[in-house]
Amino acid sequence: MIEARDLRVDLCGIELAHPVLNGSGTFDAIAAHDVFGDILLERFPFSAFVSKTITPEPRPGNPPPRLWEETDGVINSIGLPNKGLGGFLEKDLPRLAALPVPLIVSVMATSAEEFAGLVQAISERSEVAAIELNVSCPNVKSGLVVGESPDECASLVSALRVLTEKPLIVKLTPGADPVPVAMAAETSGADAFSLVNTLKASPLSPAGDGHWLGAVSGGLSGPTIKDLALAQVSAVADAVGLPVIGMGGVSSGADARSFLEAGASAVAVGTENFRDPEAGSRIARELEDLG
């Protein structure tokens, strides 16, 4: 963990040692602990840990191949594999609670009722500092893309607001103009926003025999979406009075600074973690060196 006094951030009352978080689903702190050992806890790369998105029931994820490599980015069709709420609370939460940083739990469901079930159960756990609502995952064939509709999003946030005192972070989707959605969610009681999630894309097989990904479509992430993410982060930060966690292609301190300058209060690192397990602390250090 980095002790950089002037990098400290207050995110909805959560004190962060520096502004660099991980993007949901791009770092498995439990697996990394198993692989690298306790040094992971001593040098934990992020100032808060965002869990992979959990759903009410367990999900196996999508059939392989799940990754396509782009110039400067990746298209993934992972498909939210997770143990489901029960498995998460029982098996993962105790281990995540042992991390040296605040824990943010990302949740997603296909109806307001199911969302409510997730938020209620997680809200009871003192180990959890905040809840992120994934209303935008392009990998799962939910009938409803809440994050693309201001009305849907507002009614979801209103319904969940009364269930928890924990900060509710709404993760916006780049597939629609995020500004009206964010404004509606702000009015309904959201505490913060994170963006961008991945962009829907369908790579074809280089052999010319159809789609590459087992799930046909996936989500584009990495440096290739950075300037697009900056445009959206700056538009949302300008439009709302709430903190924004900016992400999309952050792979250096200079990138992180760009997002902060665009109006974000914190940044998240996603795809760059795959290239460098310590990307989070490197980026925080580079940010500090930039002054």
Binding site: G37, R43, N62, P63, E70, V74, N273, F274, R275, P277
Partner: protein, 289 residues
């Protein structure tokens, strides 16, 4: 991670570190690239490293962007650290770039590892097993080279069957220092003309059957043939699988391989070496090569 008689699990250094290239030599159609790792962590046979080049990564085509997985093929433990050998078959932008760094240009590779689950000793895989049959295809000979050395050190008898498509796709033979290798090539340029699994079939029909464990690495179709043969013969097998890996340490969930019981494993955590009995098929993951 369990310890095995073939080596203890040692956690890799956290993060990505530059390792200096200290050697590079052609090995048939492949290249053996050697790096020096001052951390001194000794990998198990079957483990891998995620490698990328320090510069020109991505290369001129815009790819590679992600690091690439490489099995460790040789280990030389010295006083200050270990020398690790990787056998590289240049099939695309990533492997080409790694080969280039090795091929003359002084430089370093960025590495994360050792990662994953390695091979276990025969008696750990099947009670009573005393010998090993190693069967490799193509670049799949890489982890078997290290396994072979470790078995020799432990005094475990092993037979080695290696198969190649043709001379343009053959290499790594020099890593096996004993002459007891049986070769098979599709084009017949060396050894038996035909599949390396023909050789395995003969062995499994013979005496070794009851007391040996089969260790295999190679193309998916070969691994699947090996898995089925072993299952039918009632012989335990350990297969080193491939799957396109984004991170190598469990972060991306990209390396999914279907489990026999349903669902998927992350091959970088629960493999690359798996027991044949745990998977539905050995050719169901996405092909990397």
């Amino acid at each position: 991670m369990p310890e095995t008689a073939l080596g203890d699990y040692t956690a890799p250094p956290f993060g990505r570190r530059p390792l200096q290239v200290v050697g590079s030599a052609a090995s048939g159609a492949y290249r053996l690239v050697e790096v020096f790792d001052p951390s001194g962590v000794v990998p198990m046979a079957g483990q891998f490293y995620m490698l990328s080049a320090e510069s020109e990564w991505p290369g001129s085509s815009g790819r590679p962007y992600l690091p690439r997985a490489f099995s460790v093929a040789s280990v030389d433990v010295g006083a200050d650290g270990v020398t690790l050998g990787f056998l590289v078959h240049a099939v695309g932008p990533g492997t080409q770039r790694i080969e280039e760094v090795g091929g003359g240009r002084a430089g370093s590779l960025l590495a994360v590892g050792p990662l994953g689950r390695g091979f276990a000793a025969p008696h750990e895989v099947a009670a009573g097993a005393k010998g090993a049959i190693l069967i490799g295809g193509g670049i799949g000979v890489a982890p078997l080279a290290l396994l072979r050395r470790n078995l020799i050190r432990l005094g475990v008898p092993s037979r080695v069957l290696l198969g190649y498509r043709d001379a343009d796709n053959a290499g790594g033979l020099d890593l096996f220092d004993c002459s007891e290798i049986k070769l098979a090539t599709d084009d017949g340029h060396a050894g038996h003309r035909g599949r390396v699994t023909d050789l395995l079939e003969r062995l499994l029909a013979g005496d070794d059957r009851g007391s040996a464990v089969v260790y295999s690495c190679g193309p998916p179709a070969m691994l699947e043939a090996v898995r089925v043969m072993c299952e039918e013969a009632g012989v335990a097998c350990q297969l080193a699988l491939e799957s396109p890996m984004g991170c190598g340490y469990g972060a991306c969930f990209g390396c999914a391989v279907p489990l026999r019981e349903g669902g998927y494993m992350r091959l970088c955590l629960d493999g690359p070496v798996v027991d044949g009995s745990t998977i539905a098929r050995a050719d169901a993951g996405a092909e990397v090569q």
